[in-house]
């Protein structure tokens, strides 16, 4: 009996030891070769050309991470099977909320998980990921890819998707803020489309409470979303840019290029804060909790006289299924200001030939290329075949055959980014635009891109922290009435200074000046 007990104990100990040893043995994670962004791709011939000659990616599955749809992700999902048919590669689209995308991409890449082969994200993040070697240098791919027609991509987007002279992401979308207005309502009230932000407030105030859609109820003068964690931090820069930047695109609206101090604690940015807050007086009651989808929906339902948005509203407004403002929607480049910032004193001064060299009729415009458009980047740490297939997919999506069809459909969330898309009106007319509406819409965007004083979005390391974290939080507090204008400007200045100090002032200044084309 005793012997049996001992045997039982020994047996038990052996089993437990085996389990422990086995579990230790299986605990080692699968490792992936470290990323080396300088490695040239094995295949440098145009993937699209190769793809068209045979199913060269048979058996390859690519996982692409992007923002939760329906827009933006929808074209990827819809065209995935076509790409599979063409190349053999299976495409999985994984979506996360916009506010989590940056963190998801970074966690995936820096932790070595590498669950995703490609990312469709904000090209302004390239400056965070490229120096760390987390995303692939796509220059050799682009150079060998005739089907992409890279020269047809507008110069601004070619530059915005590059870092240190190399291409790191492929644009599928071009983004520029514009103001949309109700042609019928303004005409009826004898009002002109706003040229300045003061005009914008005046028009919004005049039309607020009027019945704009004929349902017998009062509607809103302005709809610009203000929810925290959404798009507020972009709208504010559209308003602030013409007050701060007047000497051309290379001046930049975010930081002083002599010492990297933020350009937010001055009369110009404070005026922008006041304008943004005042638009809320003429908007829906829960605007502080609305994202762009809500304000866009209200405009399309005919409930807003004015709104600010990317290019999406143009194609959405002609969709009879969702729009009550067909042929009633006007689009203009963002309003400007008759006063601009004197960088030396921090005060607003009147526009003249010196202070506003690019002014039109005495109004300084600085249209804001907010966000920069959705762009595809390839994970540098995945297998070469995966990289090739991921690039091929982004190239396929960006090629004129696909892109020209996608940008004319509002629900895709993609806006024009190719030169030919601005020049050739036929696809727009085929999609349902009238000749006049297409011309007006495209001119509104093109005018912004062609502006010598266009303001580009911030594109330096930690731009996510400057804009989407600190600015978002302080703006939310300001809109909620918890901070005065002076307090908000001071808090933003202090928090941006902290980030700059953390990241290294000289390094950040060099980056910032580099993105503006300054030396």
């Amino acid at each position: 009996m005793k012997s049996n007990n001992m045997l039982l104990k020994l047996l038990s100990l052996m089993i437990v030891s085996s389990v422990l040893i086995a579990s230790c043995g299986t605990a080692a994670p699968a490792t992936t070769a470290p990323a080396d962004a300088t490695d040239a791709p094995e295949a440098t011939t145009a993937p699209a050309t190769e793809a068209s000659t045979g199913k060269m990616y048979d058996g390859v599955t690519i996982d692409i991470l992007t923002f939760v749809g329906p827009q933006v992700a929808e074209p990827l999902q819809r065209r995935g099977p076509d790409f599979t048919e063409l190349t053999g590669a299976t495409v999985n689209i994984i979506t996360v909320p916009n506010s989590e995308l940056y963190q998801k991409v970074l966690t995936d890449a820096v932790s070595g998980t590498n669950a995703y082969d490609g990312y469709l994200f904000a090209p302004s993040w390239v400056v965070d990921f490229a120096p760390a070697g987390l995303i692939e240098d796509l220059t050799p791919y682009v150079e060998a890819d005739a089907a992409l027609e890279w020269d047809d991509v507008a110069p601004f987007f070619r530059d915005f998707n590059s870092y240190d002279g190399k291409v790191y992401s492929i644009p599928l979308d071009g983004d520029m803020h514009m103001v949309y207005y109700r042609i019928d309502s303004l005409e009826e009230a004898g009002l002109e489309p706003p040229k300045t932000w003061d005009d914008y407030l005046a028009v919004a105030k005049a039309l607020n409470g009027k019945d704009l859609n004929g349902d017998g109820e009062g509607d809103y003068g302005s709809c610009i979303s203000k929810a925290p964690g959404q798009q507020a931090y972009w709208w504010i820069w559209s308003i602030a840019a013409p007050y701060i930047q007047s000497q051309g695109t290379s001046q930049g609206p975010f930081f002083n290029t002599t010492d990297m101090t933020p350009l937010v604690n001055n009369d110009a940015f404070k005026r922008a804060l006041e304008v943004y807050k005042e638009t809320g007086l003429y908007g829906p009651p829960d605007e502080t909790n609305q994202g762009v989808g809500d304000s866009r929906g209200l405009f399309l339902q005919g409930r807003c006289a004015l709104t600010m948005d990317w290019g999406d509203i143009g194609p959405l407004a002609i969709d009879p299924a969702n729009s009550k403002v067909i042929d009633k929607t006007g689009a203009i480049s963002n309003p400007g200001s008759t006063e601009v910032l004197d960088w030396a004193t921090g005060k607003l001064v009147a526009c003249d030939a010196t202070t506003c060299p690019y002014a039109v009729d005495g109004v300084n415009h600085a249209p804001f290329a907010s966000f920069g458009g959705w762009a595809g980047a390839v994970n540098a740490a995945v297998d070469q075949k995966q990289k090739d297939a991921a690039y091929a997919f982004f190239s396929y999506m960006a090629q004129p055959a696909q892109s020209n069809a996608d940008v004319v459909v509002g629900s895709t969330g993609y806006n024009p980014f190719r030169i030919s898309q601005f020049e050739n009106l036929q696809p727009w007319i085929d999609a349902g635009f009238s000749q006049v509406a297409a011309e007006q819409y495209l001119n509104g965007i093109k005018e912004s891109f062609d502006s010598p004083n266009m303001a580009a979005d911030l594109r330096i390391p930690k731009n996510h922290e400057y804009i989407q974290v600190e600015l978002d939080r302080i703006l939310a507090e300001y809109i909620a009435g918890n901070l005065t204008t002076d307090e908000a400007a001071q808090q933003l200045y202090d928090s941006w200074e902290t980030i700059t100090e953390d990241a290294g002032r000289d390094e950040q200044l060099t980056f910032y000046k580099g993105t503006l084309g300054q030396k």
């Binding site: 038990s12 422990l20 820096v110 990921f129 009651p285 939080r473 939310a476």
Partner: protein, 378 residues
């Protein structure tokens, strides 16, 4: 003799192995559990403690952590995250000094009574001093942020969610439980109906309440219109938004209180109730002297479980209000989540540690001072 001397050898080996196995078996059998606990619980706790003392940065080829000492905690208490975490403190007034003075006097009496009692221990004394300091600081924070122009931070907002939420959840849960243990028609049906909110994912509840509180698009729009409230939004006002979130939270978690209290009520002896009824006791007297003492131990445990759980609220403020207006509806977990999302992992871990501290602090107060005394008093 030689044979006798040699024979015990295998026996001794046998004995040694047997006794060693006896001694080691217990330790080795629990080793997998200990390792699992260390791996899943203790190690993350230590790792996140290090995270809270470090700064995360992207670096070539991956990332790096730089040790920064207590900088993340300093940022929470006195730095750029101060108003976000602790709130915006209003200037002290005579009223705030009076309230604070009364609380300090009550805490001093509590300490003095313990000190003068017969069973003073070092551990007990240290615990009570810490408790007094903690409650004093929390009182200072709350009286300076709750009114008079102050603004709640994520710490105070979380305390509001926890204590107001649990209070109403318990009262409503008890009321519903009392109703459904009566012999009323349809009580079984209503028991199932009352349980449903708990089965729904919190995100679903949040979206539902976001829709319900929308005065211009939600299903209650006709009612809001009838009341002339179409130009009103719950979420434009800090307390309106917090109230909306509290209503959602109470709606979801009252069933948890309800179902446990139903079980507690049904498990109490019938005899004392019958005896009391025969003796002429009214319903209130029966509840006060028989039912309440019977369900009190269960209630205390129930509240403790909800207390720990309620501190982690995040889904409702995230979906219903995005934490707004401003940061008015952000809880501590949401605060940590925002910092984590911004890849400020150090601050995020520091907020998470402050949450852990608060949960532990209130749980210990509850267990040591309230639950023990209440249950022992029965």
């Amino acid at each position: 003799m030689d044979t006798e001397n040699e024979e015990p050898q295998p026996f001794r080996l046998h004995t040694i192995i047997s006794s060693a196995a006896d001694r080691l078996a217990g330790s080795i059998f629990i080793l997998p559990t200990v390792l699992a606990l260390l791996f899943l619980s203790i190690f993350p706790l230590i790792a996140s403690l290090y995270l809270s003392l470090a700064k995360f940065d992207i670096a070539p080829g991956g990332f790096k952590f730089t040790f920064v000492g207590l900088r993340n905690y300093k940022k929470l208490f006195t730095g750029s995250e101060g108003t976000h975490f602790l709130g915006d403190f209003a200037p002290s007034t005579s009223l705030t000094w009076i309230v604070f003075g009364l609380v300090i006097i009550a805490l001093a009496i509590f300490l003095a009574r313990y000190f003068l009692s017969s069973n003073v221990s070092i551990g007990g004394l240290i615990g009570r001093i810490l408790l007094t300091l903690g409650l004093g600081m929390l009182t200072w924070m709350l009286i300076h942020t709750l009114w008079n122009g102050g603004r709640l931070g994520t710490a105070s907002t979380t305390l509001v969610y926890v204590f107001v939420g649990i209070f109403f959840q318990y009262i409503l849960g008890l009321g519903l439980a009392m109703l459904t243990v009566q012999n009323l028609p349809g009580r079984r049906f209503f028991r199932v109906i009352f349980l449903l909110p708990m089965m729904i994912t919190p995100v679903g509840v949040a979206y539902m309440f976001r829709m319900l509180t929308d005065t211009s698009k939600g299903p209650f729009t006709p009612i809001w219109q009838g009341l002339g409230l179409t130009d009103f939004s719950w979420v434009n006002n800090a307390w309106g938004a917090r109230t909306a979130i509290l209503i959602g939270d109470i709606w979801q978690w009252t069933p948890f209180m309800f179902i446990v209290l139903v079980a507690a009520l049904e498990s109490q002896s019938v005899e004392p109730v019958e005896a009391a009824t025969v003796d002429g006791a009214n319903s209130w007297q029966i509840f006060q002297h028989i039912t309440w003492p019977a369900i009190l131990p269960v209630s205390m445990t129930l509240i403790l479980i909800r207390l720990i759980e309620a501190f982690k609220i995040v889904d409702l403020p995230n979906v219903m209000t995005n934490g707004g207006p401003g940061t008015a509806t952000q809880s501590l977990t949401y605060h940590a989540y925002i910092n984590w999302r911004a890849l400020d992992l150090g601050s995020s871990a520091a907020v998470a540690y402050m949450l852990l501290f608060l949960v532990t602090f209130f749980s210990m107060i509850f267990v040591n001072l309230i639950r023990h005394r209440t249950v022992e008093a029965l």
